[in-house]
Amino acid sequence: MANLDQLMQLPGILAAFEFTEGGTLLNHRQAVPTDIIHPHAMTFLAYLCAANVNMARLQAKGWTRLTNSHGFEPVQQVMVIGFDWSVLIALPEEAGSPIPVSIPVLQAVVLANESANYQKATAALTR
């Protein structure tokens, strides 16, 4: 996976951060002034992301069971599309393991919807 400084080079990225599956913010970078994204906002974004990762896992497991289609699991990325901003979350391969060898670190980037290149962002965050 790319590091946060590399992710910040992508077009339209406002911020990039790393967090645990429990939502604890580990590291972050931001390209915009703090009156747009205050550092404490990143703390809440990390929890938003963690919650949505598990919602997505629930959906993926349920949808797999209902359709017998095997392309949803494991969930690799989740995106929450807000009104002006989106946050794209990437799960490392070890995320969701019942007994992880190391603490999985999830990455996320915040994009401005107006200028976002979602395809490039998903490619950059692909493991």
Binding site: H40, F72, P74, V80, F83
Partner: protein, 99 residues
């Protein structure tokens, strides 16, 4: 692979694709409930962080190893990752959602 539009209570309005009618109806209900949960998360995040621009949320993307669900407003589609461009899909969903 499939696309459907649902009403504000999750009832299927119209759907097309490789799913059975029952599965399409389920897709609309599941997406509706996911969207409602997302609305709550976005509202709380905006309230607690003071950061504008998250709410009301427009939609979500759930990306698996080979397939994804993409939803904007009351329209959701199931796509094959190898065949679909996320930019194009989300742009089309935005347009369709305005109809």
């Amino acid at each position: 692979m499939a696309v459907c539009r649902f009403s504000d209570d999750g009832t299927l309005v119209e759907g097309y694709g490789l799913l059975t009618p029952q599965q399409i109806a389920l897709l609309s209900h599941i997406s509706h409930r996911y969207r409602r949960a997302l609305q709550g998360h976005a509202d709380q995040t905006a309230l607690f962080s003071g950061m504008r621009g998250w709410t009301p949320p427009r939609g979500f993307v759930l990306r698996g190893s080979r397939q994804s669900l993409c939803a904007i407003a009351n329209v959701v589609c199931w796509i094959d990752n190898a065949d679909a461009s996320l930019n194009e899909v989300l742009t089309e969903l935005q347009d369709i959602a305005r109809w």
